[in-house]
């Protein structure tokens, strides 16, 4: 069972990630392969995230900047896998996989006080993470706050924090893996952040902290098919509350699901502003399933016939 859980962790670790990651003093951490679920209706955005990372750091801070104060809740990673399966390309030979087991944990939080110019306005535990929601006015004060909490942000994050403060994104969701969490425990719960936003946005600039060359996959639920510059469309289709088993209220109406992907180097990472696509056409990728018998079958049959004929002549 332990080995199975470890395998699940490795496989899941290859799939998800988001935000920026600042390590503790005892190691390094690199984030890769971001997947996020995003819904935007009537000026309210829901952003579901799950973390993945590689490195030897046993402790790190996971930071997500937001344009307004968020409500924090959990989301089952099963929903990520269900979406992955639901939107998978048409393989002419078929296929699909899944991992992780449902293990929902309730979210929570309480309001705190001022701390070094960084105001802690909520904290709690969601799934594998302890989190804080901070209201920040000065970038350096957030960096100092992280140092005070025992992390080693260095000089890299401050300009990134400043980028968000410049556009009046003053709320930062900061999470770290619970100390009590053992390595082999299932990381089956992600974070769901709900906040007010005029348009559908995805905070990617923050991922300049601690990222390598990364593929970003966004599942977007909205009234129309959505797009952002340079993104490859993987899926577009109508969905509703009845479509998924494990969405836990993430999809509360008939809407259109768009799956988009784009690869980034860290210096290319800018916040993603999603816009309405030119049309609402359904789309699913069609990829090769390696139909060797369809292509070579006639040749094999012809070869067999010729061989049989040749033997008959002998």
């Amino acid at each position: 069972m332990l080995r199975l859980s470890a395998l699940a962790l490795v496989v899941c670790g290859l799939a998800f990630g988001d935000g920026g990651m600042v390590p503790g003093p005892e190691g390094m951490i690199r984030e890769y392969g971001q997947v996020a679920l995003l819904s935007h209706f009537e000026g309210r955005e829901q952003l579901a995230l799950a973390s993945s990372y590689t490195g030897d750091a046993r402790r790190f801070a996971w930071i997500v900047p937001l344009p307004s104060e968020p409500d924090v809740d959990s989301v089952l990673l099963d929903f990520f896998f269900e979406l992955q399966t639901y939107t998978q390309p048409l393989y002419r030979s078929g296929g699909g996989f899944g991992c992780a087991s449902p293990e929902p944990l309730p979210g929570g939080g309480r309001y705190g006080g001022d701390s070094m110019g960084v105001e802690e306005i909520a904290h709690g535990v969601v799934g594998d993470y302890e989190y804080e929601v901070l209201r920040v006015d000065i970038a350096e004060s957030l960096t100092a706050y992280l140092e005070r909490e025992g992390f080693e942000p260095g000089a890299e994050p401050t300009p990134v924090f400043q980028h968000y403060l410049d556009k009046a994104w003053r709320y930062f969701f900061v999470a770290q893996v619970r100390d009590s969490l053992r390595e082999y425990e299932s990381h089956s719960v992600g974070i769901r952040l709900s906040f007010t936003s005029e348009s559908a946005v995805y905070p990617l600039h923050i991922s300049r902290i601690g990222s390598t060359y990364t593929g970003v996959i966004l599942y977007v639920f909205a009234e129309h098919r959505m797009h952002f510059p340079g993104a490859e469309l993987w899926f577009s289709g109508q969905v509703g509350p009845e479509t998924f088993f494990s969405d836990a209220g993430f999809v509360d109406r008939r809407c259109r699901l768009t799956k988009l992907m784009k690869y980034y180097r860290p210096e290319q990472m800018e916040d993603v502003a999603l816009v309405r696509a030119p049309d609402d056409r359904d789309f699913r990728r069609v990829v090769s399933g390696g139909d060797w018998y369809g292509s070579f079958g006639p040749m094999l049959l012809l070869g067999g016939l010729l061989l049989a004929r040749r033997r008959a002549w002998r």
Binding site: G94, H227, P229, A277, F283, D291, G297, P298
Partner: protein, 208 residues
């Protein structure tokens, strides 16, 4: 008068060549993109003897994608040639085996990185095999209607690129592999009465 005679002569030759028309439904076996496709064709059975016929025909089929692939289209033109054996006089049945040359075109939607989805056509050609068997349903004066079912095996690779993140670029293909069934209407066939009078072949389907 001369024209009429020439016309009659040509009609006689045409009927002697054993013309036939078919209308079938094709169910692709290895392609989950397309549903049942209609197929229509015409051909000749020439030369033919009492038990064998060389059958040549031109056929075309057309298919549309299923569900969210509704904008997909595929059509193919087949030139089929093969030997047909009237193996069972008791049932008035036949079996055939042959080879075909297929030209196929396919339309699929492609998405660009500007957010647009456009339909693109691609085409290709290939050689494939077929086998079929049929049985007579009804015979009249100069015509015959058979029910025929068969299996085609092959695939036409088109010049439409297939996306894949796991392997090098590949090209799309239209699968010809599938079951087909339908009706074949033959002209220039001897009636049951004429057939019983034909010393070359035994009577089939008639009462004694």
């Amino acid at each position: 008068m001369k024209r009429a005679a020439l016309g009659l002569a040509l009609a006689g030759v045409a009927l002697a060549a054993g013309p036939h028309f078919h209308l079938k439904a094709v169910q692709p076996l290895l392609d989950n993109l397309y549903g049942v496709m209609p197929r229509a064709g015409l051909g000749i059975r020439f030369p033919q003897s009492a038990n064998f016929a060389f059958r040549t025909e031109l056929a075309g089929s057309y298919g549309t994608g299923r569900g969210e692939f509704a904008s997909c289209r595929a059509w193919s033109v087949l030139v089929r040639a093969g030997e047909e054996a009237n193996a069972s006089p008791l049932l008035d049945a036949h079996v055939g085996l042959g080879i075909m040359y297929a030209y196929a075109r396919e339309r699929r939607p492609f998405a660009d990185t500007n957010g647009a989805i456009t339909d693109r056509w691609g085409s290709g050609s290939a050689i494939a095999l077929y086998g079929e068997a049929g049985v007579m349903i009804v015979r009249g004066r100069g015509y015959r209607l058979d029910f025929e079912a068969g299996l085609d095996i092959g695939a036409v690779q088109t010049d439409l690129p297939l996306e894949s993140q796991y392997q090098p670029a590949d090209y799309s293909w239209v699968s010809l592999t599938g079951l087909n069934a339908g009706f074949v209407f033959r002209l220039g066939e001897p009636s049951a009465r004429e057939e019983t009078q034909d010393p070359r072949r035994p009577c089939s389907g008639c009462l004694h």
